[in-house]
Amino acid sequence: MKQLFILTALLGLFTAAQAQNRFFTKTGKISFDATTSKSPENIDGINKNATCVLDAQTGDIQFSVLMKGFEFDRALMMEHFNENYVESDKFPKTTYKGMIVNNSAINYAKDGSYAAKVKGKLSMHGETKEIETEGTIAVKNGKIMVSATFPARLSDYKIGIPQLVADKVSQTAKISVDCTLDPLTK
């Protein structure tokens, strides 16, 4: 009887620990900036509905974002982005599947800011490329703030820039990630 009790207690402990391993958000912010010095306007957009799931135990981290969910100051830029550049009808979703390389150096149970190194694969516009970058993981009151900025060369993803605007749109977009994750409880 006593053994059974211990077993149940252990099991309970195990599932409790399991539940706090994973963190997620559905309102992550992912933005890009492809402005050059010759751009007549800022070429940038933001998506406020990115999903992100982080497994604190293994360091696995995944992002998904719908290309049609990017918002722009100008409607015309949004249309060009969707129709001519990322072809969001054909490729609606962009994902990043990666891993925090130095995961053991991050204490998810203690408030603080940690430098994180992430390695993974970015799939966009039907192409997949390896992306390695540094970012920050901040732990505060049980929430996790994930942020990073990295460059993505458009030609790597077969996103063409029309000749006419070749010097007005950057060949490399700066991608910024800013997500606040909550513990995943079921």
């Binding site: 509905n49 999903t51 799931v53 719908l66 049609k68 100008r74 009808d89």
Partner: protein
């Protein structure tokens, strides 16, 4: 001679009007904002559950049908998500299921007062697509630039 001069003047005037029109068109087109959907007519009227089921059953087909379209959705409010910047998202669907229709409200049409979970909501917005549940956090159909529809 006089007639020729008159013709020339008319010609110049026509060119001027034309170029002014083009400039005006370019200017307004360049500065055009995303349309406010409060007066837009919906291409499809569905319930939140119908929409989730359609996308779960066949994502490609549903993308072809709904993507970038204005759709009117009615459903039960599960909860309202609010981000740090005050943008609200109405989460519609069956509270027993993890899958939802997530409607991001147009900032021009923010709610006067919070809606109670469990209340019936009718809303229209642009369908931006489907995030299938490959991460264990439920599938979602995302709707952007939403405006509430008055009953």
């Amino acid at each position: 001679m006089n007639k020729k001069k008159k013709n020339l003047l008319l010609f110049i005037l026509a060119i001027l009007i034309l170029s002014a029109g083009t400039a005006l068109y370019t200017y307004t087109e360049f500065n055009r904002k995303a349309a406010d959907l409060s007066k837009a007519t919906a291409a499809h009227q569905v319930t939140a559950l119908e929409l989730i089921n359609a996308f779960t059953a066949n994502e490609t087909e549903s993308n072809a049908k709904y993507l970038s379209q204005v759709i009117e959705i009615s459903g039960t409010l599960k909860k309202t998500d609010q981000d740090e910047k005050g943008n609200s998202i109405l989460v519609l669907g069956d509270s027993a299921s993890m899958s939802s229709v997530r409607c991001s409200l147009d900032s021009l049409h923010s709610l006067q007062e919070p809606l109670k979970p469990g209340s019936l909501v009718k809303i229209k917005g642009i369908c931006t697509g489907f995030l299938a549940d490959d991460l264990g956090i439920g599938s979602d159909v995302l709707i952007n630039r939403c405006v509430p529809v008055k009953p």
